[in-house]
């Protein structure tokens, strides 16, 4: 058992496998690997209730953000608009389904899955951590967390409708509406949620029990 105690006070760098002595940190500070500079750990803190609030707000915002058009153009009297998902379908329809799938996943599907997953994790942490099923589900969700947050690219999408608006203003009148606003709000809420979320802390919940 001496061995277990010994590696409680060490961390391994994930990039270079260096053994580093673990020390207590003040809350905004992040420990870096002395050899390769990779972020090792920070004080795992996250407010479960704060995350719950942000998560519900983001999920509510998700629907108008994806049902209302993100961009609208007026061209010679006709009006055309599109949502993120319709845009993905449009390229898919042209036979470019690789592009369509990539856009649909990174702008719509992954953000929705990520939000649902965090909501489920928060609920388990609050109410069901003592149950075996709760722990099992939490473990499964945490394993997918890294992939889901990598696939979520709302910040890039927000920039892309600004770029499109400027490019199209060459030919036509471009309008942004409620959909644009909701999508930007969704991005901001998710940004704050991901800042609050700490994967190491969530794994820690499984350790204590």
């Amino acid at each position: 058992m001496a061995h277990t105690d010994q590696h409680q006070c060490h961390v391994l760098c994930r990039s270079c496998d260096l053994v580093v002595q673990k020390r207590a940190l003040p809350s905004p500070v992040r420990a870096l690997c002395p050899r390769c500079g990779t972020a090792l750990y920070d004080t795992p803190y996250c407010s479960i209730n704060g995350m719950l609030a942000l998560c519900i707000a983001a999920l509510i915002m998700f629907f108008p953000a994806n049902l209302l058009p993100v961009l609208e153009i007026h061209f010679l009297g006709s009006i055309r608009n599109t949502t993120a998902f319709q845009a993905a379908i449009a390229v898919g329809d042209q036979g470019y389904w690789v592009v369509g799938v990539a856009v649909a996943i990174s702008a719509v599907i992954a953000p929705l899955l990520l939000l649902s997953s965090i909501l489920a994790q928060v609920c388990i942490a609050k109410f069901a951590l003592h149950l075996e099923l709760g722990k099992k589900t939490l473990r499964m969700l945490l394993k997918q967390q890294g992939l889901l947050s990598q696939l979520t690219m709302l910040e890039i999408y927000v920039l892309s409708f600004l770029v499109s608006a400027f490019q199209l203003s060459d030919f036509a009148d471009v309008h942004m509406g409620m959909g644009t606003f909701c999508f930007t709000m969704l991005f901001l809420l998710l940004l704050f949620l991901q800042r609050e979320y700490n994967l190491e802390h969530m794994w820690g919940l499984l350790d204590d029990n």
Partner: protein, 215 residues
């Protein structure tokens, strides 16, 4: 010099030599002898030696596709009956000509600079591991983290194409369609992200000689 490096050898112990291993999935320290992680039950591996070969294969495929993505047109624009093929590069040049310099810079960075930098960076990284090049490992690692982070920004171009195609669809008057380079470009993003993800960076620190970082 020798004292400092021997001192380094004493203090810089690899987890592998202590019989410890970091879980790739949940980042918990485990005893290598356990076989699988005590927290998330994922199988443990001290090093993934096959990852260099896999990463090279993904990278070479990505290079070929990136060349194709730059040669072939990425969008087909019909404006009052006139059809223009835009490649990634000519699209950026067009933006510069119409005076939208800030937008041109954003598009150029996301669709030209980032993919090429990423491929060159990964190639340097893999060459350094494969052939033991005398390069500073610390600098390589910083570069690697930047590559991991900027790679996703190339998606910008595909988002813009999808929005444009969905909006601009008015027959002979004005029409935008994706062209073959779009698929190649999407695959480049996917393959380069995978090449970086697959690679076990710990191998760099096992193989290269410590003297390159002694200064």
């Amino acid at each position: 010099m020798t004292t400092s490096s021997s001192l380094d050898n004493q203090t810089q112990i690899q987890g592998m030599n202590k019989g410890l291993c970091l879980c790739k999935v949940c980042r918990k320290i485990n005893l290598t002898s356990n076989g699988s992680c005590t927290r998330c039950h994922a199988p443990l591996a001290t090093r993934n030696y096959a990852s260099i070969g896999q990463s090279w294969a993904l990278l070479i495929t990505a290079v070929i596709l990136l060349v194709l993505a730059n040669i072939y047109p990425i969008t087909l624009i019909t404006n009052r009956g006139v059809v223009t093929n835009d490649t990634i590069f000519s699209g950026t040049v067009h933006l510069v000509k119409t005076g939208m310099i800030p937008i041109a810079i954003i598009v150029f960075t996301a669709s030209v600079l980032v993919p090429w930098l990423k491929i060159i960076g990964l190639a340097i990284y893999l060459t350094a591991i494969s052939f033991n090049l005398p390069v500073s490992k610390k600098k390589l690692m910083v570069g690697f983290h930047i590559i991991e982070w900027i790679g996703r920004w190339s998606m910008l171009d595909l988002f813009v194409i999808s929005i444009t195609v969905a909006l601009v669809n008015m027959g002979q008057l004005l029409d935008a369609k994706p062209a073959p380079a779009a698929t190649a470009f999407a695959l480049v993003i996917l393959l380069t992200q995978l090449a970086a993800k697959v690679l076990d960076t710990r191998l760099l620190w096992d193989r290269l000689e410590p003297q390159n970082d002694a200064k």
